[in-house]
Amino acid sequence: MKSFPLVSVVSFVVLVLAQVMVFNHLHVFKTINPIIYLLFFVFYRFESNQTLLIALSFLLGFSIDLLSQSGGAHTIATLTIGFIRPFIIRYAFGNTMETPQSYFSDNRILNKLIYLVLLVLLHQLLYFTIVFYSIDALYHIVKNTLLTSIISLILMGITISFYPTKK
């Protein structure tokens, strides 16, 4: 097992703080709260320990829930994303030797985009499904999911663009 990368710890702490202190107070179009902490699944290397990732994603969602005083929706959504991340990676980057070691070691833009979109969309869909938790609110669930996903993706893209792509 490889040594636990420092970047994960740092990104974990920074992302939680950024989400809770900055982005939770950012009300785009008055209602939309962009999600930034999903970048953790980008920084966490693809070939790193999956069991640890599940535990960490639980912790991540739990911290967000605790600090933003929401219910358990973040926890459930983030935990599930942590669990299904290998499938998302396989879907986005292909199920061959081409699977990169981390998000930044790859330079296929379309695959990266698919990965991000899947990550955010699934997370938001789960999140809003749990928050509304009613079939009558289907319209609200879909609307909120799409809008928040778009805004979050833009913000995440800007953040990622600060990182250099390694060859």
């Binding site: 599940i54 535990a55 219910g71 358990g72 929706a73 926890t75 459930i76 749990i130």
Partner: protein, 273 residues
């Protein structure tokens, strides 16, 4: 043990995921009353479904017992209904409620015939249960017959479908009385004899028991007049009536025990022959 551990290690990710998922669901649903309520609603829905199935099964197996209970209840209600002073057929002129000298017992019909000219029913109650000859027998829709003979556990009832049985009847409107006799053809076709032709009766009138015998109290509905004809030169009506009660479909009956029976008999004996 090694294999169990291996399996656990192999599936550690899903196990960890579902464990944490359960934890977070419990955590979130404990916090939010809305989610708690929704979960409870689903739980309630499923538990009621299960109980419904269980209930349906146990109800089915309890049907016999429930039937018995209902019969018992009906017996009590019937005796109250018959004793009720509210039945408008009791002569209002008498003002104070009439004494009701009948007790009600229930019995099941073991054998019933309706094909012969003289039909009998067999009941599963006898002298041990206090059944005596010459007690009236009614069912939920009307009268059935009169007890003819009893053994310790069974009794024989002369059915209304018996050419020699005559029941004292009247209509609910007119006090003119007559005798109900079976015509011997159809289980619901009856004749009413000896009604004087100046009585004010019409087709469709309800026939009720006349209360002049010791078998039945006044006012038990029996049937309806279907045909009315004056017999020329005799001063009597020829009346045809249909029975409310289908005597081929009688499965349980109520037996009317007249408390004053002995008294009435002794009074009869004192009459000059």
């Amino acid at each position: 043990m090694q294999r169990i551990l291996n399996a656990l290690l192999q599936f550690r990710n899903p196990i960890l995921y579902f464990f944490l998922l359960g934890l977070s669901i419990a955590f979130s649903f404990n916090q939010s009353p809305f989610h708690q309520y929704t979960i409870e609603k689903y739980g309630f829905y499923f538990s009621t479904k299960i109980y419904e199935i269980k209930d349906g099964l146990s109800h089915y197996f309890n049907l016999k017992k429930v039937n018995q209970q209902l019969l018992e209840e009906n017996k009590q209600l019937k005796s109250r209904e018959l004793a009720s002073p509210l039945i408008p057929l009791y002569p209002e002129a008498l003002e104070k409620p009439k004494r009701f000298p009948f007790k009600v017992k229930k019995a099941n019909v073991l054998k019933n015939s309706f094909n012969n000219k003289r039909n009998f029913l067999t009941l599963d109650m006898g002298s041990k249960q206090g059944i005596q000859p010459e007690m009236g027998v009614i069912s939920k829709n009307g009268i059935v017959g009169v007890v003819h003979s009893v053994t310790p556990n069974y009794s024989n009832v002369i059915s209304l479908l018996h050419q020699d049985l005559k029941i004292n009847v009247r209509t609910n409107k007119s006090p003119a009385f007559g005798s109900l006799v079976w015509s011997g053809k159809n289980p619901t076709e009856f004749l009413i004899e000896d009604v004087v032709s100046n009585a004010n009766i019409s087709v469709g009138d309800t026939i009720v028991t006349g209360g002049m015998s010791s078998y039945f109290p006044l006012g038990i509905p029996v049937g309806k007049i279907t045909k009315l004809e004056k017999i020329q030169g005799s001063g009597y009506y020829s009346i045809e009536a249909s029975l409310l009660n289908d005597l081929s479909q009688v499965y349980y009956v109520y037996i009317l025990e007249n408390i004053d029976f002995q008294e009435l008999q002794s009074l009869k004996k004192k009459l000059p022959q």
